[in-house]
């Protein structure tokens, strides 16, 4: 059906498809939420059909646990300094790019009702995000630096959630910009 992209049995190719499915699941879940994402949607996103899903995962839940572990653009990517990270995190592009952006903001309020495995993965991601911010903070090492990172992350996530939730573009921009100015000295 597809041309060259779809070798069938070459050793190691299954793993590639597997990762493609996980990536598609991560995107679909951020787009449609945990409950709203069906197996069919995930597989269509990966360019496959729903039946083949179970050659890779035991159940939908298993896949969602993994997908939560998927690399999170906003949380893990940039090694730049804090101001640049903040500008990227609080950019209009990130507000509009729910599907590929920070999963903590996209799924945060759904976490309390997720399966334990999913919550564990989310907790790990959140800790990574806090550590990332803490290490890039100017007073890294001083007392209170960790607390300060907690607050910074809370403000980042809260501002992104609000800027996305609201259907008023002016308010959305105002939230982003107020948070950005507050956080960048």
């Amino acid at each position: 059906m597809r041309s060259a992209a779809l070798r069938r049995t070459t050793p190691g190719r299954k793993d590639a498809t597997h990762e493609r499915i996980v990536g598609a699941a991560a995107r679909a879940i951020r787009r449609s939420g945990y409950g709203g994402t069906g197996v069919a949607e995930i597989m269509k996103d990966a360019g496959l059909t729903h039946g083949g899903f179970y050659a890779h995962f035991a159940s939908r839940e298993a896949a969602e646990g993994l997908a939560a572990l998927e690399r999170v653009a906003g949380a893990a990517a940039p090694r730049r300094a804090l101001p640049a990270l903040l500008r990227a995190y609080l950019s209009r592009a990130h507000v509009e790019g729910v599907e590929t952006g920070c999963a903590v903001a996209a799924l945060g309020s759904e976490m309390p009702r997720q399966a334990p495995g999913v919550r564990r993965a989310a907790t790990r991601r959140i800790k990574e995000m806090i550590d990332l911010v803490a290490r890039q903070s100017p007073d890294w090492g001083r007392p209170g630096a960790h607390q300060h990172a907690l607050v910074t992350v809370a403000t980042m996530v809260g501002a992104l959630v609000l800027a996305r939730a609201v259907d008023d573009p002016q308010l959305s921009d105002a939230v982003r910009e107020a948070a950005l100015e507050h956080l960048t000295p």
Copy 2:
């Protein structure tokens, strides 16, 4: 079936039931999310059965739009001064009381994919929350006060979302307390 609570046709009683259903829907939605809340769950919460739902609402979506408008404890309630409001909002009780707490934190990351009516209602709630904080801020009226309120609300919501998302009680408390100390001077 029930004893005295269930008069059938007394004028005005339908409205009371109606409000009971809206309240039940608001709780159920905060508990189970927008997609995860079924008509049966809402009606059971209201002490009725699923069929009667359609005597009150045209569809599930219609009810959900209304439920989003429902008064939100954390967002609309207290007229006290800012520090008291913050202590309540960032209390452990509020972290644990998803069902009756702030709907913005409980549903924020689900908002981008909701129906227009729901988003409009959410936007109004968020604006009310911002105004509430702005009015109670000590520098109410001075330039920048509104921007400052935006940041305060973002930090409040973000901290609550994170404290609830995480499955590590210590981290949950740390986020709450760091945000609280940062916001109360």
